[in-house]
């Protein structure tokens, strides 16, 4: 591990490596701070631009974005009660009241410190788990990888907040899209409808840019307006007091970070759940729960530590098994594919140096973004006043030029727009996009593992149930699928009991 860390350090700490890290931090910070954009859009937009870069530079850039967006989103959450991204929503509850009391500096200082320390704890956990993850990876065969892919999809579908059935439907559609093109098992071309463009399957970059960035632009076109109407009366002072407050409330910090890391490791659950659970936990253990929602600094520390710790957590299944832990890491896998690095269980074994440079980039980003944020907070708040009618054509233009630049193929641009409309419709009708995207990424692995498993066992399906790890994963899949029904039954019993 230390040798790999040293390789990662050597890759990161070059002039260009540090430059790309700083660029990623700035982009992630700005995108996190602008409501409606976020890290997913930032990485989706940057992905085609990384095409000409060295793989380690591309990964450093993306790592910089990943570590910075969470804190970027806390700036408008605190200053104008508008979370930059969904996972900063919990920060609004106490951050904005603090700002209105003239303690924005306190809140921002606490958010910056909690974010960076939470992120560091998440990365540290990742570093501890990864060497063990290699042993686990080597114990996995095709049946286990197939079941893991199914568990990833089931877990994500369950986590989609009330849209479990539609989450499974999205996953099935994503798998159907993943089957388009050359069949690596049978050797033929499937579902391409005579289009040579689709022989290599649905290209990941244009589809991700479309389903996230373009879809968000359609949504913003409809919503219109600006995010906030005023920044007058907002003072930014007392930043150092905020930094000190985090150390005084270190149990809150540790608890939030642990929650964030654990929940981040669960595929598809995401930072939003982590930050709300961390906030709820802080309220429940507090001796003064009534003060929450009125400017309690612990209400800022808890969610901010969780939503950055989740970055390290979400990289655990991503790097160990090639199963994305979040939408950002799903797109990150697209970046790896773009640079000829195949995600999956062998990633850790074959590209250890690059992976450690990513981890170090995320670490550096957590610290850098906090430092940048503290120095630019007041000015950055003005970004949220940018009218969406300036933002939308800018983002659409840059995104689609970037998509075209990948292969100099207009079909990619058309595909991005098709997926943009699809993404918008999915949001409109409550079909989770994350399950479709993860199924699109996992589909090939799932099918290949399925066929390899059957070949291993001479066509016997029992191979999935006679191996310990595979059977365990299968049981977990069933638990995930049964979870909504279990919640329903338990909820009814509770309400009958209360009555």
């Amino acid at each position: 591990m230390f040798e790999s860390l040293a390789t990662g350090l050597a890759l990161l700490f070059t002039f260009s490596g540090v430059l790309y890290l700083c660029l990623g931090v700035v982009v992630g910070f700005v995108f996190g701070a602008i409501p409606g954009l976020g890290g997913v859009t930032a990485i989706a937009l940057l992905m085609p631009l990384t095409f000409g870069m060295e793989p380690n530079h591309a990964i450093t850039l993306i790592g910089g974005v990943m570590g910075a967006t969470s804190f970027g989103g806390s700036i408008p959450a605190i200053l104008i009660n508008a979370p930059g991204i969904a996972l900063n929503a919990a920060t609004c509850f106490d951050g904005y009241p603090l700002a209105r009391q003239g303690k924005a500096g306190l809140a921002l200082g606490a958010a910056a410190t909690a974010s960076s320390l939470g992120g560091l704890i998440g990365v540290f956990t990742l570093l501890l788990v990864i060497p063990m993850a290699k042993q686990i990876v080597l114990a996995f065969g095709p049946p286990e990888f197939f079941m893991l892919a199914m568990l990833g999809l089931a877990a994500i579908a369950v986590s989609t907040g009330g849209a479990f059935l539609r989450g499974l439907i999205s996953a099935a559609i994503g798998l159907m899209l993943a089957f388009i093109g050359y069949d690596s098992v049978g050797g033929g071309v499937r579902f391409a409808a005579g289009s040579e463009y689709l022989w290599d399957g649905i290209p990941l970059v244009p589809s991700l840019v479309g389903i996230f960035a373009i879809a968000e632009m359609i949504n913003l076109t409809l919503k219109g307006g600006t995010v906030a109407s005023q920044t007058e009366g907002i003072e930014v002072t007392g930043v150092l007091d905020g930094v000190k407050a985090v150390f005084k409330n270190w149990p809150i910090l540790l608890r939030g970070s642990a929650i964030g890391t654990f929940i981040g490791a669960l595929p598809g659950v995401g930072g939003t759940v982590a930050s709300f659970i961390a906030y709820s936990a802080a309220v429940q253990v507090s001796k003064d729960p009534e003060s929450f929602g009125k400017g309690n600094i612990q209400g800022v520390i808890a969610p901010e530590s969780a939503n950055n710790a989740k970055d390290g957590g979400s990289l655990i299944p991503t790097l160990s098994f090639g199963i994305p832990g979040s939408a950002e890491t799903a797109i990150f896998l697209g970046v790896l594919i773009l640079h000829g690095i195949e995600p999956g269980p062998m990633l850790l074994l074959e590209h250890e140096g690059i992976i450690y440079s990513l981890i170090l980039a995320v670490t550096g980003s957590c610290i850098l973004s906090s430092l940048i944020g503290l120095s630019l907070a007041r000015h950055l708040a003005l970004i949220t006043l940018v009218d969406v009618h300036v933002l939308i054509p800018t983002v659409v233009s840059v995104a689609l030029v970037g998509v075209y630049a990948l292969q100099s193929n207009m079909s990619d641009v058309v595909l991005a727009l098709v997926f943009g409309v699809l993404g918008y419709l999915m949001v409109r009708f409550s079909y989770p996009r994350i399950t479709l995207v993860i199924a699109l990424v996992l589909g090939e692995l799932a099918e290949r593992s399925f066929h390899q498993s059957l070949n291993m066992a001479d066509g016997e399906y029992s191979v999935f149930f006679t191996r310990g790890i595979s059977l365990t994963l299968f049981v977990l899949v069933l638990v995930c699928i049964a979870l909504p029904a279990l919640r329903f039954v338990l909820g009814r019993r509770k309400s009958v009991g209360a009555a």
């Binding site: 559609i173 009618h389 075209y404």
Partner: protein, 165 residues
Amino acid sequence: MSDGRAGDRSGLAPALVVLALSVGYLPWAYSYDDQGQLVPVLIGWLLLGLSVLDIVAHTDTRFGRTLFALVSGRAMDAGTEEPGTTHGFRRQAVAVLWLIGFLASVGLVGFLATVPIYVLAFMTIQGRKPLKQSIIAAVAVTFVVWVAFDVLLRYEVYPGILFGG
């Protein structure tokens, strides 16, 4: 807002579309050889079953409501995405038409000519911004695109059919 609740008829239409998709997909999947069709056929049948459940869950019947409660439940928060707020069909069509217009223009005259036209048109027509502000934004965005892609990254930016694309 379509939030997928039982009895929400606006949620029924997409469920029917998905059903039609699965019905159309299955014969296509069966047309491949045994190995090539195996997993797609399984997924096709799975989708068919799920879409039937989804349709039933959207009917305003006791069974539909119970089924909906069973298969949806509520996670601790609203998940990572917000459901779309309902906008009129015309507004949604206009939002999509802007993108189609962008694509058509790129096809004809290329990106570097389209970007300023698109930014200017979008800001003045859709956003009703002042002309001067729109022109400045159009010039700025075009400059950024040109410098970033053409100059710094040396990517070939599509010139359009009319200019030799």
